[in-house]
């Protein structure tokens, strides 16, 4: 009963039923009617996703552990770290803003990374883990709400705005966060939704 190539996909944008054959090394299946990508499994997609996810984990930890930006103006110095940003916003009574900002840039990506590890490690080892289906649902529920790349642009805009008032020094954490954003995005882009659910099914069936 091993016939994954016989599977039909309904295009999520126009609902056309398409019979997708076996794809090889980086091929992309597109909807013949609306052009939407149906599935595009990267070669070694699971391994690549896992590797980038592990890298992203380490860099995210580093991004939280060191100074993010430092500011010098007229002999005064101020250092900002990401966790302290959350604490300060909360203490000043801007709890909602703290959640609105730190959620999409740290909280949700961290949760997504944990979910990805919880999915990919058992799948690669062909272990039947009871949490695979809920983890898969959680991952695709969270993914629209991660805004790591938007935050990097936000930091760059802030640098220009502050640059007029004081000199800003980029901390280790800033570079760690940029690296994290790159790894995290690369990890997500080599994760094919159709493929991962087929793997989950193969592990739970």
């Amino acid at each position: 009963m091993n016939a994954p190539s016989a599977e039909r996909i309904a295009c999520i944008e126009c609902d056309l039923l398409v019979q997708v054959g076996e794809l090889h090394g980086g091929q992309r299946a597109a909807c013949p009617r609306c052009g939407n990508t149906l599935t595009a499994p990267a070669p070694d997609g699971l391994t690549r996703t896992l590797a980038f996810a592990l890298g992203a984990c380490v860099l995210l930890l580093a991004a939280n552990a060191f100074p993010f930006l430092a500011l010098e103006a007229k002999g005064l110095e101020q250092v900002m770290t990401l966790p302290r940003t959350a604490v300060e916003l909360y203490r000043d009574g801007y709890a909602t803003l703290a959640v609105l900002v730190l959620g999409p840039i740290i909280g949700i990506p961290a949760l997504m990374l944990a979910t990805m590890l919880a999915l990919l490690v058992p799948i690669r080892r062909r272990v039947r883990a009871p949490w695979l289906v809920p983890a898969g649902r959680l991952l695709f529920l969270l993914s629209p709400w991660s805004m790591v790349e938007v935050f990097v642009i936000g930091v760059l805009v802030s640098l220009v705005k502050i640059g007029a008032m004081a000199s800003v020094v980029l901390g280790i954490s800033f570079w760690a966060y940029v690296g994290f954003a790159v790894c995290f995005t690369a990890s997500l882009s080599s994760l094919d939704r159709f493929e991962i659910w087929r793997e989950i099914e193969a592990c739970t069936a």
Partner: protein, 207 residues
Amino acid sequence: MSSFPAGTAAAEGLASCHVCLKVAPESLGRCPRCRARLHLREPNSIQRTMALLATASLLYIPANVLPIMTTEQLGRATGSTIIGGVVILIHHGDYPIAAVIFIASVLVPLSKLFVLGWLCWSVSRRQPSSHHERTRLYRAAELVGKWSMTDVFVVAILVALIQFAGILRFTPGTAALAFGGVVIVTMLAAHAFDPRLIWDQLGDSDD
């Protein structure tokens, strides 16, 4: 709405699971793979999208009228709105940054409201415009949504970084929350809109 165009999953009574993409008979009720509810189309898609668009439009008013950030310099507090911030940047000659903020905070949310509103209108009126073009518009609206958060992030960074008591201090304004609300609600609206509705009228016109 009773019949679906030939060749679609819905025409065969099959629903594609919105969580795991599995194609399964809608009569099962729940997806056999991930247990999510199965629907041929998003239930009440147009109605929910329109409701969310109305909410976002209302939130957009305080987001632009109220100050997004207050600057306290030597005891003097001045608030600046989103547009005010763009004008100040232009006066300073920071054109690229002014453009980034203008695009992210004004152009993207407004065009998103108009595009989704027009898509809802054209689908519910069965208006004969190009399916390809409308699908492309929908993709664009969905893709650019989160970039509007840029200005909210900038406010948070300035507030956290610049805290020189008595000399220079930034505090976030109510507009920052309202604008964050606009971004979240328009993202929900794009998510609620079902692009398959565009293609359900394929029999109506030539494309």
